[in-house]
């Protein structure tokens, strides 16, 4: 493993995505701010925008940093560098994850802080399950992109994740315990929510491990 080369590859991709990254970061902050306004309609629009930014950022980064490397034929250029498949995989998966996590963390953090500041502490209970759900969906798309190297399949998984997200939100808010906490000013963690978060974290970790194993077992690099 060549750490120096991995660092260069990582920085290269970070630089290549700089404009998109900045745009998603700003859009994420704006959407979060909107979601925290007292006007219910605006706050709802803001919340929808937060979800949209998270979904768009994920598919965009996977598309431009990972899949485009094959379709734009830059992969051949990169693979001719003195790097191994392991170096390439570590650099690639970590940079895609990083570029996603930057707007994701900004929005997540912004919403948690704003909710606390505004004194609606109970609302915080829904944030971790929702954001980890988004991250989970992103990881599944990343895994699909690694395994299939196909834009079609990755979009297919993204659409499925979005459908599931709607069902998930419905179920989450319909849960009587969750509804109770949201209304109150005290933050407590119902067992239902804790279980969801645990499953989500497990899925995220599993996707990451499988993506790595799959990527490093490829025999033909191009």
């Amino acid at each position: 493993m060549n750490l120096q080369a991995i660092r260069i590859l990582f920085l290269k991709d970070l630089f290549l995505s700089r404009r998109h990254l900045f745009a998603y970061f700003v859009a994420g902050l704006a959407a979060s701010a909107l979601a925290c306004t007292s006007n219910t309609t605006l706050a709802y629009v803001g919340f929808v925008l937060v979800l949209t930014v998270a979904i768009a950022a994920g598919i965009h980064m996977i598309g431009t940093l990972m899949l485009a490397e094959t379709t734009e034929q830059t992969k051949l250029f990169v693979m001719s560098f003195p790097i191994s498949l392991l170096d390439y995989s570590i650099g690639k998966i970590s940079v895609v994850l990083t570029t996603y996590l930057i707007p994701w963390t900004a929005m997540f953090g912004c919403l948690v802080v704003a909710t606390f500041v505004m004194g609606k502490q109970g609302n915080v209970v829904v944030l971790p399950p929702i954001f980890f759900f988004l991250l989970c969906g992103f990881m599944l798309q990343l895994l699909t992109a690694v395994v299939s190297e196909s834009v079609g399949w990755t979009i297919c998984i993204m659409v499925s994740c979005n459908v599931c997200l709607n069902i998930f939100l419905m179920k989450l808010f319909a849960d009587p315990e969750v509804a109770e906490v949201v209304k109150s000013d005290v933050l407590t963690w119902p067992a239902f929510v804790v279980q969801i978060i645990a499953v989500e974290l497990l899925l995220i970790a599993a996707s990451l491990v499988i993506a790595f194993l799959f990527q490093t077992r490829k025999r033909d690099l191009v």
Binding site: L76, S80, P82
Partner: protein
Amino acid sequence: MTTELGNSTTTELAVSMVGVSKSYKHFQLQNIDFTVERGTVAGLIGPNGAGKSTTMRILMGLVQPGAGSVSVLDKAISSNDAAAKQDIGYFSDDMRLYKPETLSWHMQLVRSLYRDWDDVYAGQLLDRFGLIPQQAIKGLSHGQRVKAMLLLILARRPKLLILDEPTNGLDPVAKHEVITELMRVVEDESRTILYSSHNTQDVEQISDSITFIDRGRVIASSNRDDFLEKWKCIKLHAPESWTLPSVDGVRLESSHRNLHVLSFNQFRGELPVQLQTPGVVIESVESMTLEEIFVSSVIRGRQEG
């Protein structure tokens, strides 16, 4: 004899492939035996889809062969061996740079990855190729893109250049610039070039050895002048009772009434005399161009295989 002339007897190999095979759904590379001596220019000629790119990708460790052994610059090659690639410069016509970024950005990137990057040489190459470092890749013409990629490879002085169709689609001036630069590389006798094309004219002049490949198999390998001396085309008039003589490497290329055109791939000076049986009049003994030799070898290979 000078030491340089004397060196011809020691054959250090820059590239060696023994019994290499690779299967795809609709294409098979079969049992490739192929070597390139250090300090030489080797041309790999084949029609489109012959297996040139696959062969070169195997040498770069980008594709794992199904069978056989591959050694490049005395190292076994595999997809997890990064060190070997430090000394190899790989170009492919299928390769693209990052369109929104500039050439100078690419130069910085490559420079950070290779220990032997030479800033002075890179500057000379910019000059000789007429490239502007501040220009974004998307604004470059095909010829400029090829030259930009070659610059990125040449400026780090690799010991071995593996160039997959470098002159494909270049105008004559750009082609001349590229070939001049490649010949400068071989002035250093420790450096080797392996170069593929579907066009004999691109490689014949500068290649020390030329290998023809078709349908995943090596069909002939020699140097240009040996090819030209061994292959001849004889036109003769013969009576109707005449049959093709049983000489090694003869093939009837075409017949029109009693005029026959024969090609030979093991021509010897005494051959025309041997062919002069009663009634046979030899009209001409002609050299063949490398392109004619290539086409004839491919057709012979396909008929045998």
